[in-house]
Every structure is written in C-alpha cells, then in structure tokens.
C-alpha cells in the first residue's frame, strides 16, 4: 500500500501552465500527438518531421519530405502516421519504428496538400489541397478510391465525421461541403464565409478554414480561422471558431477570445470534458477555452510567440503547440486538488 497523498491531479483548463519547451530549430508549422500520447510529432520549415518522446524529450528526425509538411494524421491500426507536404506528396510511416522511414509514398495532388484526415476505423484517408480536389484513399495500401470535386477555391481542411460515414471539406472562402464520399456526391453545404474576406484594398483573398474538428459525439463541428480582417497584408483581424450544429448545419455559436487578440485560429479540439480548446497566432500566441454555449472564451492563456498549430493529448491533460520560434511547447491542464475536506 502506497503512501497517502493529500493531493490528486484534476484537469482544470483555468490552471493551464507551460509545462515543457523543446527547441527543435527551424520554425514549426504543425504538431500532433500520436493516438497513444507517447509521442508528439512536429513539422518545420526545413521540411522535416520530428518525433518527440513526451516523457524524456528525446527526438527522432523523420526524413522523407522535400516540401513543407502542413498536415499529419494517425491511425492506431498498424501504428500508421500519414504526412503530406506542399509538393503534393503523401508519405506513410510506422511511427513506432526506431527511425521511421516512409513505407509508401504517393504523388497525391498537384501542388500543396493542406490537410489530411483518417476515418475512425482507420481504413480511409482523405486529403485536400490547392488543386481544388478532395481525394479519398484506402489504407494502408494508399489506393485512390474517389476524387471529389466541388470546391472552386483552394481546399484548406477536412475531417471525417466521428460517428457517421461522412466527410466534410472546407475551402478558402469558407464553403464547407458535407460529402457522401462513396458516391462522390454532395449532401449539403455549410457556410463559414465569416472566415473569409476579399480585401479590396489589397486585392486579394484572405482567410479560409485553418482548423477543423468534430466533437466525439458527432453533434458539433468546429471550424476556425481569421475574421474581421481590416488589413490583409499585415494580418490584422481576429481569430474565430465557428461552431455548427451538425444536425441542422446551422451556426450554433461564433467563438471568440474574451481578450482582444489579432491573429488566426490555427488549431481547435473538443476536450473529453465538454469544453472546446483553440489556439492561434499573430501578435503572440494564445490558447482559448470555450463552453459550447458561450461566445467568449472563459479562459485565455497568452504567450509572446506566435502559435501555428495546436494538438490535444489523447488523455486531455496536455496541449502541444507548434511555435514560430522553432520551439515545441507543451502546456499542462492538470491542477493539484486537495483530497482533504475542509
């Protein structure tokens, strides 16, 4: 029988604190925990992927991409990591190998691949990018199953529904398509155009769905990016996460930081405890926590460095943040709670 400890650990987002920092070198682009939570993977502007052991911070470099890697997705089945780069290449890896090498390489898209998603059963991969296409592949063989065409602008993100055999993709202009991917047909469209603006002064489009997630029950879809843009070339705008009621396809809530912040929401996730976590960058970085029925964040964590991506640990106790200064930061959501009643 162990010693009696008068404290226990409890997830409390309001007690979020910077837990670990690891300088990886080149400015980081994206990060993801593997499904077991043992490793945190980060991609960088040197086109590398680095695997970081969460406990001992040992790192392993995964070499195989020639272009920037914006997206990674995992399947527990076969310990599969799929990564995609801006040269249109998808690589498949076994993330547990001592030094992972690509087991399969697919010339998947013409130009940038902006996002990947793997279905909950681990059998299907989806990819999207600047060729305006969404492609669906079988795993682990990487065979092309379907090519979905319905976007008129660069396709920025996608996600498989957590309960139904459905796929959504979202583009620069905030058009979200709900696909029956088996038939390559569009079921409906959702509207997140609040995340896009054509800046008449700058004469260019800005925005797009930069992050996307379904909740575990499949009742909510969150899409994040930038809104209220007043100056496109300086990135002057505010982050926002648009929360959709999946059953109706209507916007349920527009989630914004409670504290004024200029930048883009680059990451969003549904925490198992029911709150929503987002993170973004611009003039520094911020992490936001929202309740689904309230527009303003109930807690905000700020940092001086711009955040470019965020990933939630499978157990929900930590966040990983990819930072523009080349540092991979982990935040802990755990707080000490006394077991002794007053």
């Amino acid at each position: 029988m162990g010693p009696f400890l008068p404290f226990t650990l409890k997830i409390d987002p309001t007690k979020t604190r910077l837990w670990k920092e690891l300088k990886l070198g080149s400015p980081l682009i994206a990060c993801r925990y593997d499904p077991t939570g043992k490793y945190l993977f980060a991609t960088a502007q040197d086109s590398s992927i680095q695997r970081v052991n969460v406990l001992d911070a040992s790192t392993t470099k995964l070499s195989g991409h020639q272009g920037w890697v914006r997206s990674m997705a995992f399947s527990k089945k076969d310990h599969l990591l799929v990564s995609a780069d801006y040269h249109g290449v998808i690589n498949l890896w076994n993330w547990q190998q001592p030094t992972p090498k690509p087991s399969n390489t697919i010339e998947a898209h013409d130009g940038w691949i902006r996002a990947l998603a793997i279905s909950s059963d681990g059998q299907t991969l989806a990819s999207c990018g600047n060729d305006l296409k969404v492609k669906v592949w079988s795993l682990p063989d990487g065979r092309l199953l379907k090519t979905l065409e319905g976007h008129d602008y660069h396709v920025y993100n996608l996600a498989f529904h957590t309960k139904e055999d459905r796929l959504v993709s979202a583009d620069l202009k905030g058009k979200i398509i709900d696909w029956n991917w088996h038939q390559a047909s569009i079921i409906r469209e959702l509207d997140a155009k609040v995340l896009h603006k054509y800046d008449k002064g700058f004469m260019a489009d800005i925005g797009g769905v930069r992050c996307i997630a379904f909740n575990n029950a499949g009742t909510l879809l969150a899409c994040g990016g930038i809104t209220n843009v007043s100056n496109a070339f300086a990135g002057v705008g505010n982050p926002q996460v648009v929360l959709f009621d999946w059953s109706t396809g209507k916007i349920k809530q527009q989630l914004v930081p409670a504290v004024a912040f200029q930048g883009t929401a680059w990451g969003v996730a549904f925490h198992p405890d029911g709150f929503i976590v987002g993170a973004g960058g611009g003039n520094g970085g911020q992490i936001w926590y929202w309740k689904p029925d309230q527009p303003n964040s109930f807690h905000t964590v700020s940092h001086g460095v711009s955040f470019r991506d965020m990933t939630l640990h499978p157990q929900g106790a930590q966040l990983g943040v990819a930072c523009s200064d080349g540092v991979l930061r982990q935040y802990s959501l755990l707080a000490l709670v006394s077991k002794i009643k007053a």
Binding site: Q45, Q66, F202, M203, A232, F233, G235, G281
Partner: protein, 428 residues
Amino acid sequence: MQPCSYQCGTKEHLHSRRTFLMGTAAGALGFAGMTTMASAQSLKSSQKRVLVINLAGGASQLETWDPKPGTDTGGPFRAIKTSVPGIHICELLAYTAKKMHRLALVRGLNTAEDDHGKGDYIMHTGRRKEPAFDYPHLGSVASKLLSPSESSLPGYLHITPSGGSSFGKQDAAFLGPRFASVTLANGQPPPNLFAPKNLSPDAEQQREQLRSQLNQRFQRSRRSAQTEAYTASFDQAEQFMKQAHIFDTGKEDPRLADRYGKHDFGRHCLMARRLLEHGATFVKVTHSNYDTHHENFDFHIEQLGEFDRSFATLIDDLVDRGLWSSTLVIVMSEFGRTPRINHLYGRDHWSKAWSVALGGCGIQAGAVTGKTNANGTAVTDREVHGGHLFHTYYRALGINPAKNLHTPDERPIPLADPKASAIKELLA
C-alpha cells in the same frame, strides 16, 4: 515662364506618326485588323516603346526570379527549369519559365531603400529622392524622347488596378505637365474623354474651333510652357477621342482574350498590348498587391497566379505582332522581400538583394547578371542599384544616358545618375 519647344520632332518620328495615321485611317475604312498589324510592323522598326509591369507592394524575389529552395529562407516552393538551360525560377511562374529565352534577369539589385514611397521613386526615376528636387519618371522621359511628335495617345499611360483616373503631373517633374502620366483606372479611358452623345459632330467641331481660336489669340501674347502643355493636352485629347476603339476589347477574339485570364490583370495586360500596338510609347501596368507581411506564400500563389499567365501571353502577343524587339519590357517592384520568413508566414521589405526581369528592345535575351548568396540575404556578385538599371534602360532604347535634360531655368540634368553605368552584359 520661358517659351520653349517641348517636341522632339525628328523626321523619324514624323514618319512613324504619318504611317500610323494612315493605318488608323485605313482601319476606319474596314481593314482594321490588317492595318493594325501593318502599323505594328511598320512601327516596330522605328518607334521604340516601354512596357513596365509594376508588381506593387514589393514582390518576393524568392517567389519569382531568384528562388532558394531547400534553404532556411527558401519557403515552400520549388525552383523549376526554364527555356534557358541553367536558369531556374520559382514554380509559381510556370508559364513565364517557358518564355525565359526572351527575358533577362538582374539578380544583384541593391537599392538600399525599404520604404515603399522612396523605393518606388528609385525604381521610377533611377535616383534617390532629394529634398529639394524631383526627377522625372522613366515614363515621362520616354514620353518626351520617344513619343512621335503628333502622337494621338498620351506619352505615359498607367493602367491601375483600381481608383479613379488622374493626371500625374508630379511624375513629369521639371519636364512639365505635357509629359505627365495619364491614369487609365482599371483599364478604362479617362471619364469625360469622349464627347457627350447628345452633342452632334458639327456642334463639337464648332466648339473645338472656337476654343482653338481663343487659345491661339491668348498664346500670341502669353506663350509659356504651361499654355503649350494646355494646348497640347487639348490637341492630344482630340486625337485620343478618335482612338476610342482601342478601349473596345469586345472586338477581340474571345479565345485570344481569354488567354490573358479572366481577371482584371489579364484584361489590363490585353489593354496594354492594344495600346502598344496602336502606338503608345510608355505603358505601365500595375498589379496589386504584393506587400505580404502576412501569409506571403498564399498571397503569392494568388497574385502570381494572375501575373504569370497574363505576362507570358503578353510576351507572345508582342512577339507575334512584331513589337517585342522594339519594346523594352521591365518587370519590377519598389523592392523585394526579406529572405527571413516572419512569424506570420510573411516576408517584410527587403531592398538589399532582389531582382528585376527585363526583355525586348536592346536586351540580351536569356542573360542573367548578379548573384546572391545561398539563402539570398546578400548580393555576392555584380551588385547594381537603380542608377545602373536606368543606364541600361536608356542604352537598350538607343538613348545616351549621359544626355542632359534641362529644367525650366536651363539647369542640365543627366538622364541617368552619372555615378552609375549600364549593365553591359544585359545589352544586346
């Protein structure tokens, strides 16, 4: 004010003008297409022109003419082969890469000026801005030195992406308002240029005769540069009014027009071609905006996606019409962008090591001069600045850069900065 002669009036120009007018007259009789081509063929041998594509805001040299893939500054894009062996440019210029054998690159440009306005001034005048003196734009100088004496088009035309039409007399500096820029906002002719529809041709003619008589009477006693400019602008406007067909792009074969792309910049490049083939001396097309402190890569995909195809098509059309070898083509910005990628995926202002592209009249096609270091932060070979560019432009046009222009008080001003010289390896 001193009376002065502002017109070049050489026999060569007069010949060009006469031939051109014959062409347009015949065009009115129903041979428009053939005559336009004939005029262009004739013009090509005698009239030299300038086309400037101004990528406003500061296009990234790394995403255009001097890519550095695989380095810490290189960004996400690849370098691709061009039609000239050994020359690689950014993959965002896939169409232009196929025309590289018609272009030349200056990769060692150091203009040492990171301010938009001051950088723009250097690139338009070849000089640094001085507190008490203004130099004329290249367009104004070209208007003075290259325009046929009775040109029906303003000598310095600027197609802007938006805004209103304007008359940029400050661009002409001491050359006077006669050589000012005339803005064609969004490729449209100046408003009120054409006579009201309810004004009959006879009434218009009578009105013009009265104006002319009054003007001549006034000039007999008070002739000055201002009055001459005023008179010339009316004369030119009268000629310009007869050229309305230039702006009617609806007469273009839709398939040919569509090659420029279905966007404003494509339409503006098509308009530039039409202006040049109808005798315009200097046409600047501004494409906006490249000031990408934020999301440099996404924005360059969007902007260069427009520029690339339109510019490559414009090259083809100028070649096909026999205008390429007599048209100096300059693709420039006010500066480049930082090799360092900032925290917003942006690039900031950078004038220490950047590039311009040239082509056409007097330019050695396929040449590259200047070199930057591995990650593009500094020029390592054949560094040049704005003065060198302007010497090169004038040499390419067959103009002595040491030639003096004169201010109204007869102060001689050399065309190009005397401390610089032409980039000879770029001259054909």
